[in-house]
């Protein structure tokens, strides 16, 4: 860590090099997919893929919650919208043959965009609400989405399936798609938050009034965070729909949103690598706790409380794994400390 002003910040590798490396990394998932399908136990592979999906969900929520400081408890709602949009369209078109992979990509993006529109609609109330109020309003949004899904049989020609769930969606998602999505999501959000432009997100989190006084359109950045976060949540939903082939509306209730918030907080709000690690640990851990049967969730919730009491700043406490200097502190996320807030 050098202190003098001559030091250049951020990437010392040229951007095109990093971009190439990212492309290679995404492409590398293709042969890796093949190897894993051949060699890896299907159960572990499934857990690994679920890790990938949860990484996308938690990272995108981190942009809203951890980086921009807008406390959202409705992330599963965005995921549901993406899942149902992609799933329903996929079932309707049932693409086969050579074009199937391209169709999947297109429909994933459509699912993401539909969720992003919802993100825009939810983002607008953020002009007025903050902290706990926003949290509870977004929770309400998630429940509204759930109710709409549970009571809708179809929209035009597209099946939704109401409370019975949407079944027999063509299965297309593989390790490759899950991890390509995860890499793109993490890289995009990393770049957004660690660039001059993206500093605005963190400035909004730290102090909205000061940010506005520095010429930052706080409304724009808050809504943008919701839109981008919702987009990636929608993509993750689409991946999930075309991985399992089945969707049940209650998978997207606020328990799922809370699970994602826990990943963000446990990882250390604002720390992208921390949240990635937390998403992996919290997907893997309950699987290892299967041994405890009905005590599993008791242990999970106890572990959660203890974690918060012993290490409230999360695993990485706002630091990044690959960036050995402190980039952000989580101390002010979600509003000020209890009681010092007046």
């Amino acid at each position: 860590m050098k202190d003098d002003g001559s030091r250049s910040r951020g990437w010392s590798v040229p951007a095109w090099g990093v971009n190439c490396a990212l492309v290679v990394l995404v492409a590398g998932m293709w042969p890796l997919d093949w190897v894993l399908v051949e060699q890896m136990d299907e159960y572990y592979l499934r857990v690994l893929i679920l890790v990938g999906l949860n990484v996308i969900l938690a990272t995108s929520l981190n942009l809203i919650n951890g980086i921009t400081g807008q406390f959202s408890l409705g992330h599963a709602g965005f995921m549901a919208i993406g899942a149902y949009a992609t799933g329903s369209l996929m079932k309707y078109f049932s693409p086969t043959g050579a074009g199937a992979e391209a169709a999947l990509l297109a429909l994933l993006i459509v699912g993401g965009l539909v969720a992003a529109v919802a993100g825009l609609l939810v983002g607008i109330p953020t002009l007025r609400l903050r902290g706990d109020y926003l949290a509870i309003a977004t929770l309400g949004f998630g429940e509204i989405i759930y109710t709409l899904i549970v009571t809708t049989d179809r929209i035009g020609p597209f099946e939704i399936g109401s409370s019975s769930g949407l079944h027999a969606i063509p299965i297309r998602t593989s390790f490759f798609w899950a991890y390509a999505g995860a890499i793109v999501c993490v890289a995009s959000i990393w770049r957004l938050s660690y660039s001059a432009k993206g500093l605005a997100f963190r400035a909004v989190r730290e102090d909205e009034i000061a940010a506005a006084a520095m010429g930052i359109d706080t409304t724009y950045y808050k809504v943008l965070a919701f839109v981008i976060g919702a987009f990636f949540a929608g993509v993750a939903g689409g991946l999930y729909a075309t991985y399992d082939g089945n969707l049940a509306p209650e998978s997207f209730r606020f328990t799922k949103s809370i699970e994602l918030v826990v990943m963000v907080v446990l990882g250390g709000s604002g720390s992208i690598t921390g949240v990635v690690v937390a998403a992996a640990v919290l997907t893997y851990l309950p699987e290892q706790l299967r041994f405890f049967a009905e005590w599993r969730m008791v242990i999970y919730s106890l572990a959660l409380i203890l974690m918060m009491l012993l290490r409230p700043e999360g695993l990485l406490g706002g630091r990044e794994l690959l960036r050995w200097r402190r980039v952000a502190a989580a101390t002010t996320v979600g509003g000020d400390a209890v009681q010092s807030g007046r």
Binding site: P125, R128, L129, A137, V298, V333, G334
Partner: protein, 307 residues
């Protein structure tokens, strides 16, 4: 007319328990600026404790009022202790930590209580009907318009409404007329300076949690008697009571009471005149609209940020 009257009675009867739960949310928010997510589970534990007490005293064949007094008293006491323990072990160590962290801890406590209640050692997953301590009876009955247009009020409706009105009165007395109540008001007005004024803030906070939890226990027992006991029963009433607290203006005690009744009425009228499928969603639509139009709620005060 009879239809609307009956629906209004139905709505007030549900709203009365929402109001009791909402009071706890609003008082805790008043002193700590914390959404106590585990509050719905305290309500559930109130029902569970009452269930075990009722099973326990059933063989003795006590008169109704005696049994009810023991059941309500026991549940309130147990929940007050539970509320105290939750605050002491889970929230107090995090007093100066970011709100998000405390909120996550609250969610953790809520999950813990839910999952503990699902184990057979505490209650078990199966809903159980409450032992027949008091039978539902129609106590007021009249006709409007014709002989078939009956409107009924049951003893449970009266119990629910009467208890919440009565407790609201007791609460008003505690808050406005006692030393502890004065401390509570002082802490919720200015946390930092009240401790300089010689108020024991920790004790006041514990008191608030115990008071709120006891009220939630009453709501839990009422709902256990008229519906049943189940480990996840705290979820929706908890959320709706929170909506009620926000609707009434969070931090405002009369607001929470009014908000509870209003949410109960809205829910019932939506079921009665629109579609029952959307009734839960409607509570949240109301919440979002209120937050956008009048974030301070019906009776709340608006706090502008000072630069």
């Amino acid at each position: 007319m009879d239809y609307l009257t009956q629906q209004l009675i139905n709505g007030l009867s549900i709203g009365a328990t929402y109001a009791l739960i909402a009071l706890g949310y609003t008082m805790v928010y008043g002193v700590l600026r914390l959404i106590n997510f585990a509050h719905g589970e305290v309500y559930m534990m109130g029902a569970v404790v009452a269930y075990w007490i009722a099973i326990g005293i059933a063989p003795w064949g006590w008169p109704v009022w005696g049994a009810l007094a023991v059941i309500f008293g026991g549940a309130m006491g147990a929940c007050a202790v539970l509320g105290f323990a939750i605050e002491f072990f889970a929230y107090r160590p995090l007093r100066n930590k970011p709100r998000l962290v405390v909120l996550i801890t609250a969610i953790g406590v809520s999950l813990l209580l839910q999952n503990l209640a699902q184990t057979r050692y505490v209650f078990g997953p199966t809903p159980e009907a409450f032992p027949a301590v008091i039978e539902a009876k129609t106590v007021v009955r009249w006709t409007m318009g014709g002989p078939d247009n009956v409107v009924t009020v049951s003893n449970l409706d009266l119990l629910s409404l009467g208890l919440s009105l009565g407790l609201m009165g007791v609460l008003a007395w505690v808050v406005l007329r006692t030393r502890q109540g004065l401390a509570l008001r002082a802490v919720s007005y200015r946390f930092d300076t009240s401790s300089l004024m010689g108020i024991n803030t920790n004790r006041t906070i514990s008191f608030t949690f115990m008071l709120g939890s006891a009220l939630a226990a009453v709501a839990g027992v009422v709902d256990a008697i008229r519906y049943d006991v189940r480990p996840l029963m705290g979820l929706m009433p908890g959320l709706k009571a929170f909506v009620a607290a926000v609707l009434g203006g969070i931090g405002s005690i009369p607001g929470a009471f009014v908000g509870g009744l209003v949410i109960g009425l809205i829910e019932t009228l939506v079921k009665g005149y629109l579609s029952s499928a959307y009734s839960d969603a409607v509570a949240f639509v109301v919440l979002i609209v209120i937050l956008l139009v009048r974030p301070s709620g019906i009776l709340g005060r608006y706090e502008a940020e000072k630069l």
